[in-house]
Symmetry: C2
Subunit: 391 residues, 2 copies
Amino acid sequence: MSRLFMFEKPLGMRDTLPELYEKKHRVRSLMEKAIKEWGYSFLETPTLEYYETVGAASAILDQQLFKLLDREGHTLVLRPDMTAPIARVAASKLLKEDFPLRIAYSANVFRAQQREGGRPAEFEQIGVECINDDTVSSDGEVIALLVESLKAAGLLNFQISIGHIAFVQELFLQILGTEERANALRKFLYEKNYVGYREHVSSLALSSIDKQRLLDFLDLRGGEEVIGKALDLVENERGKKAILQLKELWDVMNDYDEQDKVKFDLTLVSHMTYYIGILFEVYAGNVGFSIGNGGRYGLLEKFGKEASATGFAVRVDRLLEALGGAWEEVSVHCIFFSQERRREAFQLAKQMHEKGTRTVLQDISGVKKLDAYTKKFANTIYLLGKESTNE
Amino acid sequence: MSRLFMFEKPLGMRDTLPELYEKKHRVRSLMEKAIKEWGYSFLETPTLEYYETVGAASAILDQQLFKLLDREGHTLVLRPDMTAPIARVAASKLLKEDFPLRIAYSANVFRAQQREGGRPAEFEQIGVECINDDTVSSDGEVIALLVESLKAAGLLNFQISIGHIAFVQELFLQILGTEERANALRKFLYEKNYVGYREHVSSLALSSIDKQRLLDFLDLRGGEEVIGKALDLVENERGKKAILQLKELWDVMNDYDEQDKVKFDLTLVSHMTYYIGILFEVYAGNVGFSIGNGGRYGLLEKFGKEASATGFAVRVDRLLEALGGAWEEVSVHCIFFSQERRREAFQLAKQMHEKGTRTVLQDISGVKKLDAYTKKFANTIYLLGKESTNE
């Protein structure tokens, strides 16, 4: 093994050392507790799936998939998200009774990276899917649970932006006439490149009224007042229906008393092509990227079930970044012993473990640098020799 | 997507549905609590590692590795165990101060399977590594913690068999003369094929005394009395030293009051080629395979550190099988609401969530088969219309 190479990890792969692990574990437990209280059932799916099923159903770019071949020549992928595997499980095993289904997960997902020093290629998502309930109440529940679970994790300063993919689609199609032109303009929204959007609009062969409508569209961000403006802007029934769903969602969030955590941003679109209704992103004050997102999707149809679902996924690494700051160090005690008092040491440790006190049992002959080592512990107890006790 | 194919998973890959998930989660939490109380720090390493580093250092057969190529043409592997990744992290980041180091993990590992219907290709291990402390106390601590954490998980009926790889090596080398002959005989021990072992011994060109010694070796199983017999059988210093370590280990287990959970089996060997000292396997009454194993290994030297370590790994799937039995069902309540009483429903659910009662909030208009659906819940509450309340 070459010395230079032996400590290296593949591109985008990280170790989670004990201090960060403890924090991550605590945040995960707090979110899981909230999610379970809302009646969601956690499950696990395999890390590897067939490319032809889950890989193709997920909305992640092909170049971001980790692929390998199995012995029979099938292409496997490391799951790039959990929504597609859960759609597979729900369609094949859990939806037989045609009930609403509330599923949750905390799982690592994989996205191959192109460059050194960039984004992580493996990261944990905690999420829920409320499946086979097409009410706006269901959309609202998922958003309210997102708020509740983030609060449970200790996050205070965050905001959820809500849009509706059908509204954007209808408005753009109505004004621009073709899917192709609509997609070209929508691309600027994905990239949140509003300067590019304005330039593109002014270059289009449209009436000045239609150009103005496309520019006015960019202002559809804020509270309840956005609803009226949006209704004025869109003319066809499907577009208006999307907005009326958002109106109802606003009322639902009001009934949850969580209106202050949400706002509308009707310019919101997603590279996740499976969304069909509302969609949303969560931003926390100090983090550049969204820490979570979600929406209503029709993915189950790819697995033969006529059902839609609404889900959210929170990225744990970004949530931890948003939570930031120092946190209490874990306090560990150490009992140093020599052979003569080994039994006494074990008995004392047992009492301390039973009280939940983290306590290391250390044969003093196993330590090379005793003085320096003792500094790692909140408290040290010495059970050495036949007589003396030093604490 | 073909209909036949769309629900399938790669060979050896499993879904963990909610009921099993809950059980697994609880067992994991109980074991983690015990392990933390003993002062071990949990960490995570990436699912993917370089084949040249961790893949080659692990003792898993090459044909069991899941391999893929990255963009630069390096071979990556899905980690087949956690011992090698932890050796990498310890050597590169955690051992700089040359202290004893207590590390733990709960992680999925991957072993490609050759046949349908066989063993799982992905499974969870919970384990510890006590690194850079070469005392027998450290070996004893790992075994005592294995006992303690299995008891914490609720397992009562289990036994740990302890052997010493150096004893087997020395005895076989001394009698058989060459590594090659020693390995040929040891192969029968790996396979626990004692009939084959006896036949092989009788076919060897050895004195009848030496043949008898190799047959007597098979009887070295039991309690403290095994020590004396083993000392009679082995002649060289390294072999005797191994047995004296086992004698000390026996005394350590006695001081932990855990002697009833351990016995000697000096015929124990392992396909893990990195073991250098004691090694052990755990068996539970009703499960055919060992549910966990471990030992002292020298793997850190492959990462440039002169240190040995002792660890254990428990297979969670087999532990769950050993725990077996029925399991209390998780009790979930459901509040059905209509729009008129939505706010009231949300407030009631909030109170129930705050008390830790798992409660689903269900818009009644989202349910297709109400009567059947209500049977899923321990209790249902209806907040419908303007007046009536049915509970």
